[in-house]
């Protein structure tokens, strides 16, 4: 019960943040619950542009070489353009990567793959778990650029792989194997739904801490640089003045 209340409060908080234009730390970004990697959208836009250009070019050539298009032809071209754009906007459907890919794939692609995999799982998850899954996706978004400078076989990389490559799919897989009618029935005082949500929350929390740990080096670097400037210039000026 308190789970649901928490979830409700969380949702209300996010709604407030959206309205006020701010952003809740760890909450979904305003405008759009689901996001895909920017490269996916770009690839699709390019495909659509190519298709539209091809159709128009074909129409011009037909009009010049074979026969004038006429009103019906122009209408047909317009229809074709629309149809192609619509079709390419949804096709080919993104396929969620298999859990094996998460376990063995490139560490830098891991956040994007995991987000896609989570998107694919969303239908099977209970509502509160979807909220947490969204937050995990959000965390992964933040984490993604941090991985650029990460050694692929360092301890942090191993930890991330273990967390989102192994534990996360295992948790969701374990939940999915529980027959649906049993999922909301309490066992030993807890429902599988609640177990899933708690597990996901821990993963989300751990991802947040990982982000903090990875950022610690950069934060230290920044603080050190600032302190150095102080030591060299501000303290130096004081020293000369006094």
């Amino acid at each position: 019960m308190s789970q649901e209340v928490d979830a409700q409060i969380e949702r209300a908080r996010e709604a407030m943040a959206r309205i006020s234009g701010g952003r809740v730390e760890g909450g979904p970004r305003p405008g759009g619950r689901r996001r895909r990697g920017p490269n996916v959208a770009v690839v699709r836009a390019k495909r659509i542009a190519a298709a539209v250009v091809a159709i128009l070019l074909a129409a011009v050539l037909w009009g010049a070489a074979v026969a004038p298009l006429g009103l019906g032809g122009v209408a047909l071209v317009v229809l074709l353009v629309f149809a192609a754009a619509m079709a390419l906007a949804v096709w080919p459907a993104e396929r969620a990567p298999a859990p094996e890919t998460l376990r063995t794939g490139d560490i830098k692609a891991l956040p994007a793959q995991t987000t896609r995999w989570l998107d694919g799982q969303a239908r099977a998850l209970p509502a509160p778990a979807v909220t947490v899954a969204d937050r995990i996706a959000q965390r992964l978004d933040v984490l993604s650029p941090q991985l650029a400078g990460l050694a692929p076989d360092g301890p942090e990389a191993a930890e991330l792989r273990k967390l989102v490559g192994e534990q996360l799919p295992s948790l969701v897989g374990d939940y999915n194997r529980v027959p649906p009618p049993l999922r909301s029935q309490a066992r030993n005082g807890r429902t599988p739904d609640a177990e899933l949500v708690d597990g996901l929350k821990l993963i989300e929390n751990e991802l947040g801490e990982l982000t903090g740990r990875l950022a610690a080096g950069d934060l230290d670097q920044l603080a050190t640089r600032g302190r150095f400037l102080e030591l060299k210039y501000r303290d130096g000026v004081d020293g000369r003045g006094g």
Partner: protein, 409 residues
């Protein structure tokens, strides 16, 4: 920098007050029992922690001792502070690394000072034999002027000296950067110690409350009192010890970082002084050359360095501006201008000797500190391993989904 003035205006009379670089004393072993209490925990936080403990103990005692719920709460005690210990331990490698690197003397500033010393020794008027004696070809025929040749050697050395001075100044920047990094690390360690301190307080209060509770239960429910003593209280005491051990190591690392920082500050002083005395000696040489041989010794490189590095090498620019007039006067009127130059060189040697002595003593302090620190870090590793093991099962939540994590605020 009145020192320089004195030295140059009254060259033959007294030594410049020696540059004293004080090596800091080695960091002693911090006893675990005395480690707590260094970082203050404010009253509000304390009372919040105590509330947390009271709630936890009440909750624990309400459970059946044989139930898994009781076990889960005991697990929470076992895992108590493991995050804080892990955080603090994560930094221990880094603070061991620093003093070790600081001891590596053949790099940066040390190497530059050695180079500078070699060049200066070549120019030392004391090593040139009698400069005033006439130079003779085959020892018989008067030929050339020894003094003139000597001052000419400055021209060929100036590029070398100015490059050494430049690299000394960037070495000084490195030392400052090192100190800035130490400040950041110390700030992080201070925060870690604050959290450890909170956990130590929590753990000690837990000990007290559990003890009281067990005594109270002795009359009503002896079995429960026994369970509380044997599991909850036992683990609480173990955790207190772990936390104190980690605290001791962290405090020691914190102090060791301060030692490295102080060493760096002294070295920066030394580098400043070495640069200043060198430039002063060259300036003196220019003036003396003018007085003795009517030779215009133009040291472009050094002059350029003066103007561009006046801000980098502390006080050099100011000192030289103040003194130029006096050196002129001194060298022109003095009967013994070569001694003036000799004195200027002696200043450089004194500075370098002071730095060398300092480095030797500092090295001893550093070695002693690293020795004790590594022993303590090694000791605490065992505790950390235990903390790691405990944290595997520690992050459980009760059936009410109310986490009873015991952690710092």
């Amino acid at each position: 920098m009145a020192t320089q003035t004195d030295t140059i205006t009254a060259p033959a009379t007294e030594d410049a007050p020696a540059l004293t670089l004080t090596p800091p004393a080695p960091v002693p072993v911090v006893q675990a029992e005395k480690a707590a209490g260094l970082v203050p925990v404010d009253g509000a936080t304390k009372s919040k922690l105590e509330e947390k403990v009271d709630g936890f103990v009440a909750d624990l005692v309400a459970q059946d001792v044989n139930s898994p719920e009781f076990g889960r709460r005991v697990d929470a005690i076992t895992a108590m502070g493991s995050k804080e210990i892990r955080d603090a331990a994560g930094q221990s490698n880094r603070f061991l690394d620093r003093p070790v690197r600081a001891m590596d003397k053949d790099t940066g500033v040390g190497a530059d000072l050695a180079k500078l010393r070699r060049v200066i020794e070549d120019l030392d008027p004391g090593r040139q034999g009698s400069l005033t004696a006439p130079k003779k070809l085959f020892g018989i025929i008067p030929f050339g002027n020894k003094m003139r040749d000597y001052f000419d050697s400055y021209k060929s050395s100036q590029t070398h000296i100015s490059s050494i001075l430049k690299s000394l100044s960037s070495g000084k920047d490195e030392l400052l950067m090192d100190n800035a990094a130490i400040d950041t690390e110390r700030a992080n360690l201070w925060a870690s110690m604050g959290r450890l301190e909170q956990m130590i307080h929590l753990s000690k209060v837990m000990d007290q409350r559990l003890e009281d509770k067990a005594n109270e239960l002795d009359h009503t429910d002896p079995a429960k009192a026994k369970a509380v003593r044997e599991s909850a209280l036992f683990y609480t005491r173990q955790r207190t010890q772990d936390l104190l051990t980690q605290m001791a190591v962290t405090v020691q690392g914190y102090l060791a970082l301060d030692l490295v920082k102080k060493n760096n500050v002294e070295l920066v002083k030394g580098v400043d002084r070495a640069s200043t005395t060198t430039v002063a000696a060259l300036r003196t040489a220019v003036t003396v050359a003018q007085a003795l041989t009517n030779q215009k010794l133009v040291l472009d490189q050094i002059t350029a360095l003066n103007t561009t590095t006046a801000n980098i090498i502390d006080s050099t620019g100011k000192l030289l501006k103040d003194n130029t007039a006096r050196i002129h006067e001194q060298a022109a009127s003095s009967a013994i201008p070569v001694e003036t130059l000799q004195r200027a060189f002696q200043n450089i040697y004194d500075t370098m000797d002071a730095i060398d002595t300092f480095k030797l003593k500092a090295l001893d302090s550093m070695k002693a500190t690293v020795g004790t620190l590594s022993t303590e870090v090694e000791k605490s590793r065992g505790y950390i391993a235990r903390a790691e093991g405990a944290s595997q099962g520690g992050r459980l939540e009760g059936p009410a989904a109310e986490p009873f994590k015991l952690e710092a605020l």
